[in-house]
């Protein structure tokens, strides 16, 4: 039980992140697609800072150059049925 | 282990002796006086405004350490509850021939009872001496901060700073 979960929502461990980086992921978008870190219900609020630190340290990039994964609308959890328009 | 408030959270002997908020030994003999244990430059000056006798000076910038003028300070204690850092105390070294009175801010439940005998601790919370609760004061202006006055053996007037918390 000694895994270290970095992305709490998608249960992505530090080991899995480091393996993906070793396999060639160098940006946050790639890491997200490779490991799902940041794709969970909280949309990266809990893990993106930690993942950015791991990515910067493992690849030697300056933290200033490691930008978060793209943010897309909606940036807050919202129920799908809120988008259903009643017919005018 | 390194000494000093930056490493332990407790002002060291040296920091206290060079602290402008603490008066010299003669002033302690003369009567009650405030003790402002503020040894770090932080942006804060409510103590300066609180003193009705203009005895506390911070000036500008507000990160200056508060300086206490022992002559102007009457030991009224109004400043104790106005310090956001709870760093102001009051001591009356010659309360009696053998005892001193130490007042400190106290924000725990329950407040002690006047007349109770309590275990008193120093800046690290460790037990120093037993003592009697002489006064327990709280008013609207203190906004939730109680001031407790305890009678202690005279030699501990610059050590006792709280009531020990039972673990």
């Amino acid at each position: 039980m000694d895994e270290v979960f970095v992305c709490r929502c998608e249960e992505v461990t530090q080991e899995e992140l480091q393996k993906a980086i070793a396999d060639g992921a160098v940006t946050m978008n790639e890491l997200k697609r490779w490991t799902r870190a940041g794709m969970g219900l909280c949309q990266g609020k809990g893990c993106s800072r930690l993942v950015m630190n791991i990515l910067a340290k493992s690849t030697g990039q300056s933290p200033a150059d490691v930008k978060p994964a793209h943010y897309r609308n909606p940036v807050r959890p919202m129920p799908i049925n809120s988008m259903i328009k009643e017919e005018e | 282990m390194k000494e000093g408030v930056k490493y332990t959270g407790i002002p060291s002997r040296q920091e206290l002796s060079s602290c402008p908020g603490i008066v010299d030994t003669e002033r302690f003999e003369k009567g009650p006086v405030a003790v402002i244990e503020c040894v770090q430059e932080i942006p804060c000056n409510p103590c300066e405004d609180a003193c009705p006798f203009r005895a506390i000076r911070v000036g500008s910038p507000i990160t200056n350490l508060p300086t206490l003028d022992g002559e102007k300070c009457t030991g009224c204690g109004v400043c104790i509850t106005q310090c956001p850092g709870l760093a102001i105390f009051k001591v009356h070294k010659n309360y009696t021939d053998t005892t001193a009175l130490v007042e400190f801010p106290y924000e725990y439940f329950p407040s002690p009872e006047v007349g109770a005998e309590v275990d008193l601790g120093g800046r690290d919370g460790a037990f120093i001496t037993k003592g009697k609760v002489v006064k327990v004061q709280r008013n609207k202006k203190s906004d939730g901060t109680t001031v407790v006055a305890v009678e202690v053996p005279k030699e501990y007037f610059m050590d006792v700073r709280t009531i020990c918390r039972n673990k």
């Binding site: 800072r49 930690l50 933290p63 930008k67 909606p74 807050r76 | 770090q40 430059e41 956001p84 918390r165």
Partner: protein, 368 residues
């Protein structure tokens, strides 16, 4: 047809409330939107007396400042939309489109000026057992004990000696919990000495150059193993110690909540002293996207006092841009706010933030 207003403030914490107040005071039309059911942001869990000087309302407890700000917004008739999470912001030709959910339905409003005051979020750290129930942010514990008046646990280990770690340890004691230890990875205490002194007087040990090695428990925290670190922050074998704690609070800094600024297309600059990637803004708190302002922790993680002042600054600047103030009137008001802001950012604790803010202004002027 979408509703059009002069200005929208997103986030009703100290910065957002202050911004809305300043726009309303100037006679501008402002709609204040917040996702929570109560305004005030993190103010209502801050039961300690604030620092600064009288103009910063020093010596007043955080939640009382919150009450005062809410009264001001009521007196000025600021329209406040609660329970309305903003999920999107777009530049359109006739203004900035702010879309949010209200009473289960999607709604949108077009504004000439938008002030982003979304605040910040507590950082996490990862270690074996860090996801067990009982491990939480120090701000989370603070919300539970001071706002909801429930104890999240009884025996706490606090991680981090910044002001949040020190203050929340003290407030846990006031709420009746025990704080077994405060561990700090760095060799010195990060927050104010006076806050550290309060918990040392209460017998709480502050262990610098220490951190958590792992948390033990099957369905929740049962014990915590801490370890000493050398000057390169590596654990020193043999210095492990088990503490019988049922709760771990993490006070390891905050990060700005910048999603809306990224969506709006703002430029960013990396400022570690202010919590990471920060939207570039000028001395009017206006970002690289005309009409979009930032204030409070989203513009750099500091304190509620600076958040309120930045909110005032953004509010005055937005009101000026809406034509409610002449340039001279606004200049005078802004100078007063800048003076109060500079006062809060002086001294050894404020210097790093002062320099970072100055750097942001340089970047806004085209510097690197």
């Amino acid at each position: 047809m979408k509703r059009k207003v002069q200005s929208v403030v997103i986030g009703a914490g100290p910065a957002g409330l202050a911004a809305a107040i300043e726009i309303a005071k100037a006679g501008g039309q402002v709609v204040l939107i917040d996702e929570n059911s109560k305004p005030g942001g993190q103010l209502f869990k801050q039961i300690h007396k604030f620092f600064g000087s009288r103009e910063h309302r020093a010596g007043v407890r955080g939640y009382n400042i919150g009450i005062q700000l809410l009264e001001e917004t009521k007196e000025l008739g600021v329209e406040v939309l609660l329970d309305s999470p903003v999920y999107g912001i777009y530049k359109e030709e006739d203004g900035l489109l702010v879309s949010y959910v209200r009473e289960g339905k999607e709604e949108a409003i077009i504004a000439e000026k938008v002030i982003l005051a979304a605040g910040g979020m507590e950082n996490a750290i990862a270690f074996p057992g860090s996801t067990l129930p009982g491990v939480m942010g120090a701000g989370c514990a603070q919300t539970m004990i001071n706002v909801h008046r429930v104890l999240p646990g009884e025996k706490v280990v606090m991680v981090g000696s910044g002001n949040v770690g020190l203050i929340v340890s003290y407030q846990l004691l006031q709420a009746g919990a025990q704080v077994l230890a405060l561990v700090e990875a760095a060799p010195s205490i990060g927050g104010y000495g006076v806050h550290a002194a309060k918990i040392r007087r209460a017998g709480v040990p502050i262990k610098v150059s220490h951190t958590i090695k792992r948390v033990i428990g099957t369905t929740e925290v049962e014990a915590v193993e801490i370890v000493q670190l050398d000057e390169k922050f590596n654990p020193i074998p043999g210095t492990e110690e088990i503490l019988e704690a049922d709760t771990v609070c993490l006070a390891v800094g905050l990060s700005p909540m910048t999603e809306l600024a990224w969506l709006a297309g703002c430029n960013f600059t990396y400022e570690p002293a202010l919590g990471g990637h920060i939207p570039v803004h000028d001395e009017n708190m206006e970002t690289s996207v005309p009409g979009v302002y930032v204030a409070g922790d989203i513009a750099g993680v500091e304190e509620a006092s600076t958040a309120m002042e930045e909110g005032r600054l953004a509010g005055i600047a937005a009101a000026e841009a809406l034509g409610c103030y002449t340039e001279d009137e606004a200049k005078a008001l802004k100078q007063q706010v800048w003076a109060r802001l500079d006062a809060l950012r002086t001294g050894p604790f404020g210097q790093a933030r002062f320099d970072a803010k100055k750097h942001i202004l340089d970047v806004a002027k085209g510097g690197k």
